[in-house]
Symmetry: C2
Subunit: 263 residues, 2 copies
Amino acid sequence: MTAKVYLIGAGPGAADLITVRGARLLARASVVLHDALVEPDMLALAPNARLIAVGKRCGRHSSAQHFINKQLVDAAQAQDDEQVVVRLKGGDPMLFGRADEEMRALEAAGIDYDVVPGVTASLASAASLKRSLTLRGVARSVVLATRSRAADSDEIQRRADADSLVYYMGRDQAPDIAREMIEAGRDAATPAVVVEACSTNRERSITVTLRALADGALADWFDASQPCTLLIGDAFRQRAIRAEAPASAEASAASKHEQGVAA
Amino acid sequence: MTAKVYLIGAGPGAADLITVRGARLLARASVVLHDALVEPDMLALAPNARLIAVGKRCGRHSSAQHFINKQLVDAAQAQDDEQVVVRLKGGDPMLFGRADEEMRALEAAGIDYDVVPGVTASLASAASLKRSLTLRGVARSVVLATRSRAADSDEIQRRADADSLVYYMGRDQAPDIAREMIEAGRDAATPAVVVEACSTNRERSITVTLRALADGALADWFDASQPCTLLIGDAFRQRAIRAEAPASAEASAASKHEQGVAA
């Protein structure tokens, strides 16, 4: 007599950017353990569920993760087997989500579970910006990364050399990332786009250069309370800048919420 | 009097792995231009739409893309401004989707459009396999790639050195990719997982080593008519193999549809 657990990706933020499968499971859920990053509108999709906020926004420690694992197992074991327990994670569970530790805990306890993927922030950011992560002749591959003290110089070098690079950032990391990329040889004029609170009604974005980012040009722009992605690469140049763009496209190419900053 | 166009990511295949926003727009659509890869169940979400199949499954040529661009613009201009025209693309539009060319064509024609992101196949594959793309102490970043004749040796080297690497593959590419990775120094014992027709009722997956893949161990396994992803890296080792997995987890850790192959 144990509920089935679903690890569900909530997507980037907007309540309608969860998958149809995820939304249906939330509607059936009796318990939802959710990240701090999940929006209130999304939680409203689970009207019958007991909502349990777990996890810190950033710098989550192993001890906290251990406690989440235990809460998840306990919740499943406290329900009967027709009920649904949801572990709702921002973005996609299998990318920077520490899902492995939760899956191990469920497996060790013999609890049945499935994983429902979600739209990760890099895809949603590219959609908001209307700029493709891959671009013929410009970007053939994409690196998804977080800033990590464990990244060695070879790893930093690979990131600096990547065609398109997307960082999932915590607060205050942007200048250090930009400096690291320039020191590893990336052209300081490379476009760097920050998308904050992607897909929510607080979404903002801005395009600068790696040099401007490294020099702190956005110090006053960031809202430290919001999650953000940093997209680095020539694919993120505004279409109007590229030579082959027809003149008539220039006005409409810039994203509505784009704000200019002297680089 | 021109309809608004939505470039929508259909997700990996299953009709309920599109986003809620994408499903709602399909329900309102009067025209849907869709990739060959999009499943019939997904198209049933657009009961009022004229369905137009565009694009080839693989090896799509520029001329074909040019024709798709024209069809998209023509469809929008033939509708009035309260109607919805959908360009439905497998996976996510901004990743290996050649959306840039379609966005340029829309911008040049002065047609209003938005992009709705989708679950890309690498995330859905990881969800099906129940193995995280990132893994503490094992994989801090992920490279998403396709095999391209244009990739130079530096790019091949970066892919070979990537923590986790996911290839979006056409048919017959797996052995060449595996040989390329081994020649660039990747350990031949590295796990390589193929997920075919992810999230559909035809989904299959198999885990081998890079060496086995390079040697053609899966020659008889592949169904050339199905799309697939190839996941390479230590993060994709079955949890039961890793030393720290508790014994009780071994049976449940293996994916239901996993089939063993002598490596």
